[in-house]
């Protein structure tokens, strides 16, 4: 069970997160929607301390940590329980695909090299990139790099995987292939928090949808509740704008 309570964050004068709280149960797939600048990415980055929140607490399993005053040891423990998939892949440029996937295992979790190699190869095969295991990131397409990024996160089998707009840097025809992989990760029961604009993905896969705007959680609920009859005015406007743009049918 993962919970954030009263997270606050501001860059200089403007407040990005206003006292945000969120609860994630084991196996949940939380999708966070919202216009850009709503603070959804910042919230995600505060969870694994890529950003330092100004206030609030984070609980993963039994461990509770203060988001502001967390010691570097606590931060390390949290990072070893979470995994992150970046918008622009951020694969290690100096390592091959296989080495990228193994890095977390051999260095952070001190898994023996042989087991780590075996696990990494299986995960790469699972995302369909075993053939490319010795290729360097610059030799892979965007979609392939993102799938290696996902493999790198999944192989650690963390408590939760955080996806920061995993498909927005991809060209259209690669988006479907990457979403399929994320979907299969969800089907394996791994807890996930996904920040994205892919409405169809949210509808099919999400167990809970959270709509954020201006640093607040405006509304949260099951995909059906949010998409069929949103309560908050701002949610309706957002969905109306997005749905007319993608001429989606109402389920």
């Amino acid at each position: 069970m993962i919970e954030i309570k009263n997270a606050k964050k501001s860059f200089g004068k403007n407040e990005i997160l206003h006292d945000v709280s969120i609860q994630v149960n084991k196996g949940d797939v939380i999708v966070i929607l919202g216009p850009s600048g709503s603070g959804k990415t910042t919230l995600l980055r505060c969870i694994n301390f890529l950003e330092k929140a100004d206030a609030g607490t984070l609980t993963i399993g039994e461990q509770t940590v203060d988001l502001k005053k967390a010691s570097s040891k606590e931060i390390l423990e949290i990072r070893r329980k979470t995994a992150f998939v970046f918008q622009n892949y951020s694969l290690f440029h100096n390592k091959t695909a296989l080495e990228n996937v193994m890095e977390g295992l051999i260095t952070a979790r001190h898994v023996p090299y042989a087991d780590a190699k075996k696990k990494a190869e299986d995960t790469l095969a699972w995302v369909g990139l075993l053939a490319k295991k010795d290729a360097y990131p610059c030799q892979l397409s965007g979609g392939q790099q993102q799938r290696v990024g996902i493999a790198r996160a999944v192989v650690l089998d963390p408590e939760v995987i955080l996806f920061d707009e995993p498909t927005s840097a991809l060209d259209p025809e690669l988006v479907g292939e990457t979403l399929a992989v994320i979907k299969s990760v969800a089907e394996r029961g791994i807890t996930m928090i996904v920040v994205t604009h892919e409405m169809s993905f949210a509808q099919d896969v999400a167990s809970k949808v959270v709509f954020m705007d201006g640093g607040f959680i405006v509304e949260e609920g099951t995909p059906a509740e949010i998409f069929r009859h949103p309560k908050e005015e701002r949610t309706k406007q957002f969905l109306a704008r997005i749905i007319s743009a993608e001429n989606m049918y109402y389920i």
């Binding site: 990072r79 995994a83 992150f84 622009n88 100096n94 390592k95 952070a108």
Partner: protein, 228 residues
């Protein structure tokens, strides 16, 4: 009127000059080995902006870049014995001069290389560091396994020209009597009244060194390309 250049003088000089090669190589070796360690340290301190150390490192780098190496040699050669005498009451005044030459070149290289490393570390996109943290690496592991290997590749070209520069200005030690190949060329000039031959040989020697270094660093750059 004055026969400036004479081939047989050119060839008689060579063994005399080459005999002093070890001095040059030793200075370059120590300066680079400890210079790199010191440079990495200073670069990390300046990037991490660690409270007091950061300011001290800033002044150190600014002094080393801002003053002629000649003066740095004097400050080390005459300054360190005074400081050692006052603080630890050890008399190092009469130590072998080459030690002070090593220390000067180590400190100087340390400053210049730290600038090169700092710029190359900053050139690595922050996404790499964040990715390393996200898979649970500690800051030190992230630096050693992900950032440094990529920073080295960025630093290679300027490291190469700095290394050639180091080779060329080891001659400064001549001022306190430590004779290297350039110093020997000068003394041959005064002893035999003809300096051009010795200097031409030095020029040829250093061109070869520069070609070797450039070649070696070119190959190193290829090796560190990571598929690019």
């Amino acid at each position: 009127m004055v026969d400036l250049f004479d081939w047989d003088r050119f060839f008689t000089n060579i063994p005399q000059i080459v005999a002093y090669l070890p001095v040059t190589f030793k200075i370059v070796f120590y300066a680079t080995l400890f210079g790199v360690i010191l440079a990495l340290l200073v670069a990390v301190i300046r990037i991490k902006k660690i409270p007091i150390l950061h300011q001290v490192a800033g002044i150190y780098v600014s002094f080393m870049r801002g003053t002629p190496m000649l003066v740095q040699l004097l400050v080390v050669f005459y300054g360190i014995p005074i400081v050692m005498q006052q603080l630890f009451n050890i008399n190092v005044n009469r130590w072998d001069k080459i030690i002070f030459v090593y220390i000067t070149y180590i400190l100087n290289q340390g400053a210049f290389l730290s600038e090169i490393f700092r710029c190359s570390i900053l050139a690595i996109p922050t996404g790499q560091l964040e990715a390393a943290y996200s898979v649970g690496l500690t800051q030190f592991q992230a630096f050693r396994r992900i950032i440094l290997p990529q920073a080295v590749r960025v630093a290679v070209p300027s490291f190469g020209s700095d290394f050639i520069g180091l080779f060329q200005n080891t001659s400064l030690a001549f001022l306190i009597g430590v004779v290297d190949i350039m110093g020997r060329a000068k003394t041959i000039g005064t002893a035999t009244k003809h300096v051009l031959e010795a200097y031409v040989f030095i020029a040829i020697f250093f061109i070869i060194i520069s070609l070797l270094v450039k070649g070696a660093f070119y190959l190193l750059d290829k090796k560190l390309a990571y598929g690019r």
